[in-house]
């Protein structure tokens, strides 16, 4: 019988075949006398390719959403309980799905070009797109020729992939549930970050395709304007995609920041810088009818770099050094061929056309904006090189080993410092060059002595940055330079914006973007350079005489209900919390286990939603535990943060996420480093007992306790089955807990059902009922109270980083709109 998987696989093959035919027909149309017919034929094939691709996506999505765990992809990346919006992320958790996502955006771009009027450009763009689609669809083909495996199909059956013994017993075995989605990806940013990034990748194809077409058809002039428009669009979309990832990292990952110089982050940062370099080169080309070679090379290499980054992330060459890496599917050979084909084709095109590309001997003058733009482009290239060269260290090792050599080169020890110490100088240079270029570009004709244009902004920025350096204070030379150059950039670009707005009621897009960049740089400088750890442990105790140095750690151990000073706050860990489906937090110790996933019985009345004892509650996600930590400032203001941990029952994976208090001037960022492992066995103290009456006060692990009530149940009058449950109220500072141990008689047998209050480290038993005295024997064992180890960090002015980015993007969008409607710069 045909399954949806067979249909999907057939559609993958059809998508591959039609991409080949549409590529071929468009190529033939260029040389053929029946050009029109061939283009029509190509279009028809493209539409089939388009529909097949959509069909593949539909099939895979249907398999995921219908929990069809016969298929490896659904089993591997999804599970029954996963909410629908996270099932969307399951789609691209695997390599195959993310290739499909990329193909999806590519076919939409193809659709746009296939609907344009026929020209040599649209034909050639379709050819480039066809080649890319051919290669991408080959990645998910999943066909084996002898020993050669081409692509990895998302429609593989579980029993074909995993050789578990169960399939020998029952070949038709279907697992009850999938292994679920990586907890890192169970985040709303992961629903929109990957599609945005891949849309960015897809849009980058267009300027690349124009550059390739320019070389193919030997028209070096007319590719510039459309390429510029698409470059702007790709910079915007890729930039937004990268920043979504940065925000996701800030909010979800526990490395404490938005950027980690992770190889995969670097691999997308570098193409973005190249796109920006290409844009500036094209602006120069458009204005001067010069630098065609530079513009071509940059437009080509930005896409080649995207392929390179695809190769890095997907071939497994980076190993475990990155949080983003996909699992290796054995496609590295295919990926390498993909990369090298495009790279070598571009090199061939450039060499064979090199002499015919227009070239002018004219040189830019020092006092012209062109000169500053030109060196700005080169600064961007060097800036990228400083990142991509060290990131590629694992590649050098592989190459050396491939040729039989040996290399044990490892990435730099402190990669954050290694990269940021160098990038800061390039960033400062960019801020300065962009300001000079902007001012001379717009106002260069007004002054004979160009320097006079800068004098006032120079004086203001010297004064302002001098004050900041003196009073913040900033002591590192590189930071001083960056703050001075960024403020200079704010003043000069700001003056341009004001000048144009007064004169022509126009907002200068270039000046706005560069202003945004300068604000971003200041935000980065303060939030990273001056992020300060608040949870320093100054006890200075040498815990172990073996330890080489006295230890000052950056983390703080908090026990439940004990106060500790953290920075300007007094912190108190109040215990573990769970989140209800309706969004409220509830003390995890109030929940009584029910054998239904995500559902619990409430042990006591609570203020939250006025819930009553024995109500059934539904949790948002049982695998997530929150830690309620209260911070009280010296002024007495109190705030509560809920950092969390998510465990994955299928993979032993543990993800800690911070909670962040956003203030206007600084963020207070708290995350849990570790907590008592719930799977580890608790070591209890010797059992202690005492005899108490109703409402008589006694102490459990030093907490004031008393029996509130006793409820009894019995089957019949003989008391052959009898259950007594005590409700013991335990008061911890400010919080009331309830323990419900039970005493059970079943015929001759007596059973004691203990209750455990994890946070307080108490196990209570109702071990005897003394009816004559109207007293009860309470037994208890104690252990360590619950604890967390946290790190608290202050991140000053991080809002400038996000604000600057919005301004930068706004400027780019303005510029895109203007380029789209007219040729206004």
């Amino acid at each position: 019988m045909l399954t949806i998987g067979d249909l999907g696989h057939a559609l993958v093959i059809s998508s591959f075949v039609f991409s080949f035919f549409f590529l071929l027909s468009y190529i033939v149309s260029e040389k053929s006398s029946k050009s029109k017919e061939w283009v029509l034929f190509g279009k028809a094939n493209f539409y089939f390719h388009f529909l097949s691709t959509l069909g593949v996506i539909f099939c895979l999505y249907y398999i995921i959403i219908s929990n069809d765990f016969r298929f490896y992809y659904a089993f591997q990346h999804s599970s029954k309980l996963l909410p629908v919006y996270f099932k969307i992320s399951s789609f691209w958790e695997g390599q195959e799905g993310s290739f499909l996502l990329w193909m999806f955006w590519n076919v939409l771009i193809g659709l746009y070009f296939s609907l344009q009027k026929k020209s040599k450009w649209t034909t050639s763009v379709m050819i480039v797109l066809g080649l890319i689609q051919l290669v991408l669809s080959s990645m998910i083909l999943g066909i084996v020729f002898g020993d050669l495996k081409v692509g990895s199909s998302p429609f593989a059956l579980l029993k074909d992939v995993i050789s578990a013994p169960i399939f020998q017993i029952d070949p038709n075995f279907i697992p009850e549930d999938g292994t679920g989605l990586n907890p890192l990806l169970q985040n709303y940013w992961m629903v929109i970050h990957p599609p945005t990034l891949f849309l960015g990748f897809a849009v980058c194809v267009v300027p690349f395709a124009y550059a390739v077409s320019s070389l193919r058809v030997r028209d070096f002039i007319n590719w510039v304007a459309p390429a510029k428009k698409w470059l702007l669009l790709s910079i915007i979309i890729l930039g937004v995609g990268i920043m979504m990832g940065a925000y996701w990292a800030y909010e979800t990952l526990n490395f404490g920041g938005y950027w980690n110089w992770d190889p995969v982050e670097n691999a997308v940062y570098v193409p973005w810088l190249f796109l920006v370099a290409a844009l500036h080169s094209i602006i120069l080309t458009q204005k001067n009818r010069q630098y065609y070679k530079m513009s071509l090379i940059l437009s080509l290499s930005s896409f080649i770099l995207i392929l390179y980054s695809t190769f890095l992330t997907r071939s497994g060459i980076l190993g475990d050094s990155s949080v983003h890496s996909f699992t290796d599917l054995g496609l590295s050979g295919q990926l390498l061929i993909f990369l090298l084909t495009f790279f070598l084709y571009c090199v061939y095109l450039l060499f064979s056309r090199w002499r015919s590309i227009p070239f002018s001997e004219k040189e830019a003058q020092m006092y012209s904006s062109d000169f500053w733009l030109y060196i700005g482009v080169f600064t961007l290239i060097l800036m990228s090189f400083q990142v991509i060269f060290p990131t590629s260290i694992p590649v050098y090792n592989s190459i050396i080993e491939f040729f039989g050599g040996f290399s044990n080169l490892a990435p730099p020890i402190e990669k954050e410092l290694f990269y940021s110490n160098a990038q800061i100088w390039f960033a400062a240079a960019i801020a300065i060059f962009s300001s000079i270029a902007q001012v001379i570009w717009w106002r260069g004709r007004e002054a004979k002595q160009k320097f006079s244009l800068f004098s006032s902004s120079l004086i203001y920025s010297m004064m302002l940055s001098g004050l900041i350096i003196l009073f913040y204070p900033i002591t590192k030379p590189s930071y001083m330079v960056l703050i001075l150059s960024s403020i200079f950039s704010i003043f000069s670009n700001g003056s341009i914006i004001l000048y144009f707005y007064k004169k022509r009621k126009l907002i200068s897009s270039g000046a706005t973007s560069h202003l945004g960049l300068a604000i971003m740089l200041i935000g980065i400088l303060f939030s990273s350079g001056y992020s300060s750890i608040q949870s320093k442990n100054y006890t200075g105790l040498v815990w172990n005489s073996d330890f080489p140095d006295e230890v000052n750690t950056d983390n703080m151990l908090l026990f439940v209900d004990e106060e500790r000073v953290i920075g300007n706050y007094t912190a108190k860990y109040k215990g573990t919390r769970k989140k209800l489906k309706t969004g409220e937090f509830i003390n995890a110790n109030y929940l009584e286990f029910l054998p239904v996933i995500n559902k619990y019985l409430l042990k006591k009345d609570v203020d939250v939603l006025r819930l009553k004892e024995n109500d059934t509650l539904e949790l948002y996600n049982d695998n997530i535990t929150f830690f309620e930590i209260e911070f009280v400032s010296r002024k007495g203001e109190s705030m509560t943060l809920f950092p969390k941990v998510q465990t994955d029952p299928n993979s032993d994976m543990i993800v800690f996420s911070p909670d962040i208090l956003n203030n206007l001037f600084e963020d207070f960022y708290v995350h849990v480093r570790t907590y008592p492992d719930p799977t580890q066995e608790t070591i209890w103290s010797e059992r202690d007992s005492l005899i108490v009456g109703m409402e008589e006060i006694f102490y459990l692990n030093d907490y004031v306790s008393s029996i509130e009530k006793i409820t009894t149940q019995s089957d019949d009058d003989n008391y052959s089955k009898f259950l007594a449950e005590a409700s013991i109220k335990i008061l911890a500072s400010g919080q009331e807990y309830i323990a419900k141990p039970a005493y059970l008689i079943d015929g001759e047998k007596v059973g004691l059902i203990p209750d455990i209050i994890d946070d307080l480290g108490i196990k209570v038993l109702l071990s005897e009922i003394l009816p004559k005295e109207e007293k009860f024997k309470i037994s208890f064992e104690t252990t360590q109270k619950n604890w967390v180890i946290i790190e608290a960090v202050k991140k000053p002015f991080i809002n400038l980083f996000w604000l600057g980015f919005f301004i930068l993007t706004y400027g780019l969008i303005l510029s895109f709109k203007r380029n789209n409607t007219s040729n206004h710069v």
Partner: protein
């Protein structure tokens, strides 16, 4: 003004500086013996060392000592040459530490003790799982 003729030179020299500084700052994967040798020769260079946790026949991990305040810990690691060394780490123990299959420590010897600045763990992930829980 022939200022543009100087530019390629400046560009090239910065690129060369980047290459040199990359290889200068790049670390290396070594064994404990090599790291010790370098330390004995008076250098405080830090390295990457790849290895495994020390386990007995029953797969129980041996030699892990947590500090009283749980903010730091030490453990025994066996490098790829089979040499056992005590590694000290001034951070709380990562929750998945004891599950790891492979450990990469980044650090070096100080006072004859190997101190890690950072630890990278390779954990058995669900991806390599060959079994299906029924």
């Amino acid at each position: 003004m022939k200022n543009l003729n100087v530019l390629p030179l400046v560009f090239l020299s910065i690129a060369i500086i980047i290459i040199i500084s990359t290889f200068g700052d790049a670390s290396t994967y070594v064994s404990f013996s090599k790291a010790k040798e370098v330390y004995n020769s008076g250098s405080l260079t830090k390295f990457h060392v790849v290895g495994k946790l020390n386990k007995d026949e029953n797969n129980n991990i041996k030699g892990v000592v947590k500090s009283q305040d749980m903010l730091s810990f030490s453990f025994e690691m066996i490098d790829e040459d089979g040499r056992k060394e005590n590694v000290f780490y001034n951070e709380p123990m990562p929750p998945d530490f004891l599950l790891s299959e492979q450990v990469v420590v980044i650090g070096g010897f100080e006072d004859n003790k190997f101190v890690a600045d950072d630890i990278l763990l390779k954990c058995p992930s669900k991806y390599t799982e060959e079994n299906i829980k029924i």
